[in-house]
């Protein structure tokens, strides 16, 4: 059974090849079967393998399969090797299952698009690359997947390539993440030179013996890897690409820019947790970046009026929670939030897609309203996702995963109150911006009339994801609410647990505080955006709030800053030197020879007297040199 693991990434690749080469000759129905079918098959194999992994785990909770030897030279051996352990099982299942649901949804969402087969080709390629990323046994296979998903992200953001702004957004995403990738690549070099291998299990085993805690090399390695993670997961200071990435079709935003690819950074840090454990400074930085990002992005989400951009900032913010969890050493909590976030954020994006679809590409929430009655299936599922995102207590998966992170931030030996406080404030803001969106879109008077209702290909994935968003959290509950630890005990075979434990009373108190924050946020949203909407609008029109709103709308002005710091100098440098100033030297040489040629040929006059004078002068000069030397 385990030996079938190679099928999991290969089947989507096969789907890609089939669609890329034969897609134009296939009818749409065939494309709609091949695209989701390839991912569905991959999901089925993955689930079967996972079932066996739960029932009869392999020795040491890890299984390796080497497909071929990739690079072997100079003491470095890198195999094309897949690796199955609890961490990759969780990641693989979420990717294939959520990926399959989104593919099914996309068959309806993209039905009218002229690039139908191209879309599914790219999507299949993405799933294959993402699976290689999480199934790679060594960092080079991981890096192959890492860059592969980056390519697909680029292609799909710029999918509607005829609009130049989509192309700009796609380029921005690729280039910004590539900056992080270069840091990651240098980190790989550091690890190779230190350990002579890129095999993750070997590095994890060797690192604690090779490096003392806080060793400079360990900190450097952790920081470089963090650079890669920050780029891919859109954390400060490389977060700017994700809001623009919403230019792509909505299923792309759901799959790539919410559920899977952007969590690759979280996966990377969790996968190499032993290195970060040796670098407390870097780990603290992970937590600080997470906390800062989650707050900045949550504030930005408050000011957006584009439905997808709200969700994009929300994704950045939720990824910040995952980084916060990693930063306090709560690896399983980060993975737990990854899983629940994949469910509810995919759901929200797909719901948003259904709304945008029926409103004929309207994305401004201030031109929506009252959709509750017209799109009931979308409303109820979207509400489930919104509750999960806001972490409404007890009934949603988001509550359990976020609660675990906040608790860990408080009790972890490397955690601190500030990180916890940031998380709590973030929970309040999350509830506020989420329900601002819900109230504006679904409640109040109707502003734009929807056309038709989404069909079953769109609603069934929504419902499945809504169920997962509500029930998916019960695999891990706190001690005072059942104390289920299925998730952490399974992942415990791959990731070390959190050392500290708090008292039940503390746990209950923290839960109460976060519940107050969440309910307060929802209540405030109700007051501001439903009951007293006019008063809110008037207040926002005053100069000071308006300036703040514009700053938040522009994502704190990072784009403005980077444009002046990096983009313009680079373009200026390139433009100034377009004609290659080095060549000016050689051109000058050529011109000098021509001038000299001109001057000397003018001396050849044919006039004998001139020659005689020249001859005489030459002789005198020579004599002078000889005599006066």
């Amino acid at each position: 059974m385990y030996s079938l693991i190679w099928l999991v990434p290969i089947v989507p690749f096969a789907g890609f090849l089939l669609l890329a080469f034969a897609g134009r000759y296939l009818p749409r129905r065939a494309v709609a079967i091949i695209g989701p079918g390839a991912v569905g098959l991959s999901a089925a194999v993955m689930l079967l393998i996972s079932g066996q992994f739960l029932a009869a785990p392999p020795a040491g909770y890890a299984y390796e399969q080497t497909l071929w030897s990739w690079i072997a030279t100079g003491g470095l051996e890198v195999g094309f090797t897949l690796y199955l352990d609890p961490l990759s099982v969780v990641m693989g299942c979420v990717i294939t299952v959520v990926g399959f649901l989104i593919h099914v949804y996309a068959t309806a969402y993209m039905a009218e698009d002229e690039g139908y087969s191209k879309f599914f080709a790219y999507m299949n390629l993405f799933v294959g690359a993402m699976l290689l990323l999480v199934l790679g046994q060594n960092l080079l296979v991981l890096y192959l997947g890492w860059e592969g998903v980056g390519l697909c992200s680029y292609l799909l953001i710029g999918f509607w390539y005829k609009k130049p702004e989509n192309g700009a957004a796609a380029m921005k995403a690729f280039i910004v993440t590539r900056i992080g990738d270069v840091a990651l690549l240098i980190g790989l070099f550091l690890l190779v030179v230190q350990f002579g291998t890129l095999d993750i299990p070997a590095i994890l085993a060797a690192a604690p013996g090779a490096w003392a805690v806080g060793a400079p090399a360990a900190v450097a390695a952790a920081l470089l890897l963090l650079g890669g993670a920050v780029g891919k997961s859109a954390q400060l200071p490389l977060q700017t690409w994700l809001p623009d990435a919403m230019a792509g079709p909505t299923p792309v935003s759901a799959l790539i820019h919410a559920a899977t690819m952007v969590t690759a950074g979280v996966y990377l840090i969790a996968r190499l947790h032993a290195l970060f454990a040796l670098a407390p400074g870097a780990l603290l930085l992970v937590g600080i970046i997470g906390a800062a990002t989650l707050l900045l992005a949550a504030f930005s989400a408050l000011a957006q009026h584009d439905l997808k951009r709200i969700l994009a900032y929300s994704t950045i913010s939720q990824l910040g929670y995952m980084f916060l969890a990693l930063g306090v050493g709560a690896w399983t909590a980060a993975l737990f939030h990854f899983m629940t976030h994949a469910f509810f954020k995919a759901l929200l994006f797909l719901g948003a897609g259904a709304i945008i679809h029926s409103l004929r590409d309207e994305q401004n929430i201030f031109r929506m309203g009252g959709l509750r009655r017209r799109l009931p299936a979308v409303y109820w599922t979207f509400l489930a996702g919104a509750l999960a995102l806001a972490a409404a207590p007890l009934i949603t998966a988001g509550f359990y995963s976020k609660d675990l992170i906040l608790f860990a931030a408080w009790v972890s030996p490397v955690g601190n109150r500030w990180l916890w406080g940031a998380g709590l404030l973030g929970a309040f803001l999350t509830a506020l911006y989420t329900f601002r969106m819900v109230f504006l879109v679904f409640h109040g008077p109707e502003r734009t009339a929807p056309h038709g209702r989404p069909g079953p290909a769109m609603t069934v994935p929504l419902m499945i994801l809504a169920l997962l968003s509500l029930l998916g959290g019960f695999v891990e509950t706190p001690a005072d609410l059942g104390g289920v630890h299925l998730f952490s005990s399974f992942l415990g075979h791959a990731l070390p647990g959190l050392a500290a434990h708090g008292s039940p009373a503390l746990e209950a108190a923290l839960q109460l505080l976060s519940t107050v924050a969440v309910l307060g946020g929802i209540a405030l949203a109700y007051q501001l955006y439903l009951r007293r909407r006019e008063a809110t609008a008037r207040w926002l029109a005053r100069p000071a709030p308006d300036a703040a709103r514009r700053l938040l709308l522009a994502g704190w002005g990072f784009d403005w800053l980077y444009d002046r710091l990096f983009v313009r100098p680079f373009v200026w440098l390139a433009t100034v030197n377009k004609d290659d100033s080095v060549d000016a030297f050689f051109r000058g040489l050529a011109r000098a020879s021509l001038l000299l040629h001109g001057a000397l040929s003018r001396a050849q006059t044919g006039n004998l007297r001139w020659y005689a004078v020249g001859f005489a002068l030459g002789v005198m000069a020579l004599l002078a040199i000889v005599v006066f030397r």
Partner: protein, 559 residues
């Protein structure tokens, strides 16, 4: 003998094509195609019967007298590196003939004669190991290339051809002086005149000036910053096949020269010169990439990407370790295909749109989706996407460079970001956005599809299964003196923290470690320690014999 056959096939075939061209243009084309296909067949046979002689890196070769008065010999020897480059030559040769099929309509016979002569000269360069013969081949490939650009090029072809000729000719003369100087040094030491590479090894390992004579010639060809400025002009003005051969093969002769001559002949001088050369390499990587971004002419832009990509090779050679050199070899092959393909693409676009100006393109994906997909593939290869050959090359090069000089490697890695910028900008300007040009240009023809398919397959092969290439090059690279063979001081398996820290320490300052620490040959003989300068380095294949003997004969009638 087979090496002579490889060269004669091209020379005689070229003459035949010329003659056929007097009869009809299409006869010349078919003749050239058949000749290059035969060449490919011979190379394929070469691969099939690969079994190196014991303790010798040479897989095939011939040694014969040529000008006995000056003991100039005809020495053609092929090792793994040469074999790989010859293979590249044969494949690109076929593609170059196919690329020219429609583009060249005037004086077709003479065109193919020149094209095949370039190929012959290149194969000569890749195999000649008598330095005098090497110089002859070096010039032999220059003149037909000059004619190709000057006769069949675009608007400013004359100026570009002259620039190309002056740069390569002048630097070639410096190399000739260095060759004579080297032979003279050998004569003073031993009293015998010889140009035999194998005999000259170890003659002047520390001579900076002789090394520089060779270096300048190779650096111009490579091209290395700041001697690169002939390249954009030559590429822009050359016919498509000319650009393909320039990028794919002629630049590789510079890279090959660095590996074949600079390191083995002058290990000490090269080690001393390494920081400067590596810095030039890194400058080339960044400078070329920034300039590529700024260009508006498609071919000029691709030309500057060549400067950037070949900067990696310069960096690799002077990193002086096996990883980097392996990377350099893969880079030579991968760059030949990826950049060559971009030039073919530029030619195909020029044929359809009658412009190379990127500002006048846009939205071409809508008009020609298959060509768009092809462009996407090769743009990804150019930016070093994993899974394609360029990534394997750049990964190994940067890793090796990191081992040798961490800050320079980190700077060079920034080149990957710059490469992303120019590659995506190219796609954006030409293929995405609204449709900018009028008319309905034809999508890829079957002939063009075949050309691109070969190149794509080659890049995928290099990216996913590079091991055969690495293995083929390894025996030759193992013998380059002064090259450290291991990635770190790492010993596999469990070990005490103390030892690891110790090795980490030695890794941090690799320059201080004796360079030849790990160097050993397959047959157990040891190269002289380059740093310690233990005097004469015993060549594992022995001193050159006198008279005529071929390696093939030694291998027991394999010929």
């Amino acid at each position: 003998m087979i090496l002579v056959l490889l060269i004669l096939n091209l020379l005689l075939g070229g003459g035949l094509a010329w003659l056929a061209g007097r009869w009809s243009a299409s006869a010349a084309r078919w003749t050239a195609l058949v000749v290059t296909l035969f060449e490919l067949l011979f190379v394929g046979l070469l691969w099939l019967r690969l079994e190196p002689a014991e303790g010798s890196p040479w897989l095939a070769g011939i040694v014969a007298d040529w000008i006995p008065n000056f003991s100039v010999k005809l020495i053609l020897l092929m090792d793994g590196v040469s074999l790989l480059l010859i293979t590249l030559t044969a494949v690109l040769g076929v593609l170059a003939v196919l690329v020219s099929w429609r583009e060249i309509q005037e004086n077709v016979g003479f065109y193919y004669f020149n094209l095949l002569c370039v190929l012959a000269g290149v194969i000569g360069v890749f195999t000649a190991l008598d330095l005098f013969l090497f110089y002859v081949c070096w010039e032999l490939m220059l003149i037909p290339m000059f004619l190709l650009i000057a006769n069949w090029g675009h608007a400013h072809r004359k100026a570009a051809a002259i620039k190309f000729f002056l740069f390569t000719q002048l630097s070639g003369l410096l190399m000739l002086v260095a060759i004579l100087g080297l032979a003279l040094t050998h004569f003073q030491a031993t009293g015998a005149i010889t140009f035999d590479y194998r005999a000259l090894l170890g003659t002047a390992p520390g001579s900076l000036w002789l090394m520089l004579g060779f270096f300048v010639a190779f650096a111009v060809k490579l091209p290395a910053f700041p001697l690169h400025t002939w390249l954009p002009d030559a590429h822009t003005e050359a016919p498509t096949a000319g650009s393909l051969l320039l990028a794919g093969l002629l630049l590789k002769t510079g890279a090959y020269g660095l590996i074949r001559f600079i390191l083995p002949l002058f290990p000490e001088a090269a080690a001393a010169f390494a920081p400067i050369a590596m810095t030039l390499g890194v400058i080339g990587i960044l400078y070329g990439a920034v300039l590529a971004f700024a260009q508006t002419d498609f071919k000029r832009m691709v030309a500057y990407t060549s400067v950037s990509h070949l900067g990696f090779v310069l960096l690799a050679v002077f990193a002086m370790n096996l990883l980097a050199l392996q990377g350099a070899v893969v880079q030579m092959l991968a760059h030949g295909f990826s950049t060559g393909a971009l030039f073919v693409l530029a030619g195909a676009l020029q044929e359809r749109l009658h412009t190379r100006d990127l500002r006048r393109m846009g939205g071409l994906w809508t008009l020609m989706p298959r060509m768009g997909a092809v462009a996407l593939f090769f743009a990804m290869a150019a930016l070093g996407l994993p899974g394609l050959g360029n990534f394997v090359a750049e990964f190994l090069i940067l890793l090796g460079a990191y081992r040798a000089n961490m800050p320079l490697a980190a700077l060079a890695a920034v080149g990957l970001v710059f490469a992303t910028i120019y590659a995506l900008w190219l796609l954006q300007r030409a293929f995405y956005g609204p449709v900018a040009s009028e008319g309905a240009p034809r999508d890829l023809r079957p002939r063009e599809t075949l050309i691109f398919a070969v190149m794509m397959a080659a890049l995928l092969w290099l990216g996913l299964f590079p091991q055969p290439v690495l293995d083929a090059a390894a025996p030759a690279l193992h013998r380059v003196p002064g090259v450290s063979l291991h990635v770190g001081a790492y010993v596999r398996g469990p070990r005490s923290p103390a030892r690891v820290r110790e090795s980490a320490h030695s890794v941090a300052r690799p320059e201080t470690a004796p360079l030849a620490e790990h160097v050993r040959n397959g047959d157990g003989s040891v190269w002289g320690d380059a740093k310690a300068g233990r005097g004469e380095a015993p060549a594992p294949w022995g001193r050159a014999g006198t008279g005529t003997s071929t390696i093939d004969d030694r291998r027991g009638g394999a010929r």
